[in-house]
Symmetry: C2
Subunit: 215 residues, 2 copies
């Protein structure tokens, strides 16, 4: 037994160390190939202790998804809150999102790459993570609508629509980032703002695109 | 043995009937809960014959994904080709996509709801389906860029970026459609065009959004 194993740590600290190790192993090996022995070894703790803390391999994965999605949402929220207009908040929030994905590759692998072979508990945790991100973006869009003034007839359904489109686009663009590793997260944000902001501003201002007439 | 079972059909026709049955059962029960007995029963054929034709439960699912993604891509392509401008092509392509999702719920469940517990072959087929859709949209955007004229310095990487954003947004918006079943596919298309077309037109015209300056 190494010195590391003998350390006595508060439960909460030990648990975070186990999740750190699990995240490393899951993102490197994938859910199927990952083995709890390696996670225990990396955390400097016995395998029975890992099970005692987090229940099962599935429990370990669920804990990773929960913690990393909370971190992602917190990073998005903190950045967005600092903005003093809908435009700045959206820009700051998206910047934080793409920066998080670039900096925390392991976290994003666990959140984004739903490895085949996972059970119901993991699927449910991933769905909850997505709902949580969606709620954050919906709130941001709703604030944008409210600030847009009374002339605009947009409601919660509209905010939720815009949030679904934005979250789906950002999610899919992380695949594009992987294909183009030379592209900085800031550049990705700029491109996406270019694509959606002008349209969103118009939507928030109550303008409506209509299909072109036959000429 | 029923009369239906005794019918002698060409292999290709029989195979399509089996895939019809498989699609029905998979979309209704999910991958895990689906059993080949029910698929065989519905197709009016013996279980060993089903295996002879499509190999395994996994093979049945792969066949469903392949056929339905080809149908989806064909519907998108046909609609988009009829348009005589980038704007009309995008509008027509997105309209066809959302109409397909609304009309062929079973197909979309199989393509979109990646049930947990699926193996590598299915994951690979789903990834191939997504690449196929992405290639179609990228081609459409690239044509838009080309028609935009020589002043625009946009390349394949830009087309691929826009395609990733659009496909991700459309994919995610099918969840919104499910939450709002009263919304017609045409209305969903209009909303998405509102959100992205103005921005895309500007991007294609070479305009660039920049972060707002501090005031």
């Amino acid at each position: 037994m190494t010195d590391k194993r003998r350390r006595r740590l508060p439960r909460s600290v030990r648990e975070q160390e186990i999740i750190d190790a699990a995240l490393h192993v899951f993102s490197k090996r994938g859910y199927h190939a990952a083995v709890v022995d390696e996670i225990a070894e990396l955390a400097g703790i016995s395998k029975p202790m890992v099970y005692l803390y987090l229940g099962s391999k599935e429990g370990l994965f669920v804990a990773c998804v929960r913690r990393e999605s909370e971190r992602l949402v917190a990073a998005f929220r903190e950045a967005a809150q600092a903005g003093d207009s809908p435009e700045r908040r959206l820009w700051a929030g998206l910047s934080a999102f793409f920066a998080f994905v670039a900096e925390h590759r392991g976290s994003w692998v666990v959140l984004h790459r739903q490895s085949p072979g996972q059970g119901e508990a993991i699927a449910e945790e991933l769905a909850a993570a997505r709902r949580s991100v969606m709620a954050e973006v919906t709130g941001l869009v709703r604030d944008g609508i409210t600030e847009g003034g009374g002339a605009v007839q947009l409601g919660d359904q509209d905010a939720d629509f815009v949030a679904h489109a934005l979250v789906g686009a950002a999610d899919s663009l992380t695949d594009w980032m992987e294909l183009h590793p030379e592209q900085a997260p800031g550049g990705v944000t700029l491109r996406l703002m270019n694509m959606v902001w002008v349209g969103m501003r118009n939507v928030l201002a109550g303008e409506v695109w209509a299909p072109p007439h036959d000429e």
